[in-house]
Symmetry: C2
Subunit: 202 residues, 2 copies
């Protein structure tokens, strides 16, 4: 009896390094799979259909919204981005843990639709460190930096609504923490109904 995979949602303010953590997790753990988003954005050079994105037309995307084919979606810089339900559900059925790296709003929306999903919030070692990382990141002006910090502070307020907090003091530690979370989540009775009923049948 194949155990179903987990739907794992990873969020965190920009500057917490959640992208790097997810990449490392995926390279380390063959049973984890990145969720491939659908988008109306044109492919960039080297991007592969079905690997980086599912590239669709706007009318197709709007149809997907209408048909409830997306578990969450958003519009950003005139392009639509969304998570196709069929892809996610097929992976989970195969026993793969699907990793979704999305915003706080999207995460809470998914929790309502999939109460057994696992919400992981990546936190920086301190707010000062987050500030340093956002400032150091690039060439943005003070305005952009100020807005990012404000948004980070706003997003942090949602951390308590998540199932787990993972401190990204080092990528290795953060990845190990997420691995422990995935392993122990799989031990919950609600995820082992087949096993339980086989033991009870006796």
């Amino acid at each position: 009896m194949q155990q179903k995979g987990l739907l794992v949602v990873v969020s965190g303010p920009s500057g917490t390094g959640k992208g790097t953590v997810c990449q490392r997790l995926l390279s380390k753990r063959s049973t984890a799979k990145y969720s491939v988003s659908a988008t109306t954005r044109k492919p960039r050079e080297g991007e592969v259909e079905g690997k980086n994105y599912f590239f669709v037309s706007e009318s197709k995307f709007l149809d997907m919204i209408d048909n409830n084919d997306l578990i969450e979606w958003d519009k950003y810089c005139d392009n639509y981005y969304g998570t196709p339900k069929s892809y996610v559900e097929a992976c989970i059925k195969e026993g793969l843990d699907v990793i979704l790296e999305i915003t706080v709003a999207g995460a809470l929306e998914i929790k309502q639709k999939y109460p057994d999903c696992v919400l992981v919030f990546i936190i920086p070692p301190s707010f000062e460190e987050l500030e340093r990382r956002i400032v150091c990141r690039g060439t943005e002006g003070c305005d952009v930096i100020g807005k990012r910090l404000e948004q980070a502070s706003r997003e942090m307020k949602y951390a308590s609504k998540y199932d787990y907090l993972v401190l990204n003091d080092s990528v290795d530690n953060a990845v190990s923490d997420i691995e422990r979370i995935l392993d122990s989540e799989r031990l919950k009775p609600s995820r082992n109904e087949d096993l339980l009923s086989s033991l009870l049948k006796a």
Copy 2:
């Protein structure tokens, strides 16, 4: 800021090997501590006060019940056994994970009083294996074996009320599973309020 320890309740039908699993866990993990029970039973040779048990008189034990000094208690073969609240709470405050190996009834009672405790149910690889272990264990007659099996089957029905199921196919695997559970439980937001508020204060 010292994080509080966990109250970890381990149960499972007799024959699942939960005692061996707990012993191995404790020898491996210095932050885990066995809960020392109070009992009215006389000390056996070699038993040490405060290590194996807290040995108390019956009147003292009855006082402890009346004063709500025990988080659970039971009577077995004319002797009382119970878990002293003060000892457990002192360990947790120190940051130690307290391991309580108790019956299903006691576990559910504790969950009501301490909703943030962690309930772990040890399951055998199969009911046939459990049967084999109970039968092989000793010199008991068919009557006792029959009763044990009936009780095991009855207790198994409570597994779904636990937070986690740990399959004891090997002691090492079971101990690793429990370690992952303890590590990931410590990442829950409700167990990290100090950390969260320090990040939000910024």
